[in-house]
Point group: C2
Chain length 219, copies 2
């Protein structure tokens, strides 16, 4: 049988850091592209990973210690020349998580709109594709909810949408759309402060577990 191509899985882990949409990047230790920043990724372990989504989750667990509430397949990059080791394909996923403390030493969070290094392989293009996907979906879905803790106020949610999109939104329209789409429900409690307290909300169960992820399952 002919030589099989190399198959790996890469993950774009997106979160908010200092009010900027940021991605997890790791410094490569081995060739090719040793020393360069890259998306976290790895080879499929055929005896351990049920499918490619499982590989993506394992990679995130091993490289950043996170377990994302949202994971979706993004695109599969492939070709004879993208990896000097030979014909390769990389199934790329993107994941959204609430703000977290990056625990490991070799991992950093980079502002997706202001990277100061070129990434290894074709990872710059993959990262930009993930950002585009998230921004496109944000305008008609509840995606940014996964960048917040389980309970949040409508003000916090609107700021999150604004940080993802990079533009201001109209408060009345924003709330009207949320009310129509009906993927939020009131949660117990309010957020206090030097102002009128705000009602807490959370995603409805069915919104959290369905509709957003095609084929792959939300974890």
């Amino acid at each position: 049988m002919e030589q099989r191509p190399i198959l790996s899985v890469d993950v774009v882990l997106l979160t908010l850091k200092a009010e900027r949409l940021s991605a997890l990047l790791v410094r490569r230790e081995s060739e090719p592209y040793a020393g360069r920043l890259a998306l976290p990724g790895g080879f499929v372990h055929v005896d351990e990973d049920k499918d490619a989504a499982s590989t993506a989750l394992r990679v995130l667990r091993e490289k950043a210690g996170v377990s994302p509430p949202y994971l979706e397949q993004l695109y599969t990059v492939s070709g004879a020349t993208r990896d000097p080791r030979g014909w390769s394909a990389a199934i790329a996923y993107y994941a959204l998580v609430p703000q977290f403390e990056s625990s490991t030493a070799h991992a950093t969070l980079g502002d997706v709109d202001a990277l100061d290094e070129r990434l290894a392989f074709d990872h710059d293009a993959v990262l930009q594709l993930a950002v585009k996907r998230v921004r496109d979906k944000t305008s008609y879905s509840a995606l940014p909810c996964y960048l917040l803790p389980e309970r949040f106020t409508l003000g916090e949610l609107q700021r999150t949408y604004e940080q993802v999109l990079g533009e201001r939104l109209n408060k009345a329209s924003f709330r009207r759309k949320l009310a129509e789409q009906d993927f939020l429900e009131k949660a117990a409690g309010q957020r206090a402060g030097a102002h009128r307290p705000a009602q807490l909300y959370r995603m409805r169960r069915r919104a959290r577990s369905s509709g957003l992820v095609i084929f792959d399952r939300t974890v």
Copy 2:
């Protein structure tokens, strides 16, 4: 090094046949699933295929003798159990072509809404995902143009949209939207008949070659 997974490419070739959205299906001759209908597909030839899109085009050329004007990556299915030969991944593409004479013996065109057989592997799910993608995109893009010959009338285009979507559209709104979006231009000639002749149109160059396909190139 650990055992590498199997990598293949499958293609959902969509066209209109008898006014129904239909997909190209081939009868499998070898195991697994010998005798079952399946999507056309094949393994990557690492010495021949530049990337997975090239594999998809080669498969369509070999199995149906067609060269599609539109090709887009759809989804990569993967897992330990989807193929009895071992852990495998299949990069699925979908293609759109104008009506054509299916030349080969083992290939048939099946109405995507009325298949009378279960397909091999997870191809039923892949086919339905392609149909969903095309229908979703149809409402805000020029995608159905690729199901028609290069020149067509606005009436023919509206009927194509209606056949893809399975619902009637409002003529004035349809034409208003086309005029706004500006991806069509007048072509030479008119379509005659027992009625007022209709102006012929075609896609603008830049619409044909850009905007519709992410990452992969239109051919």
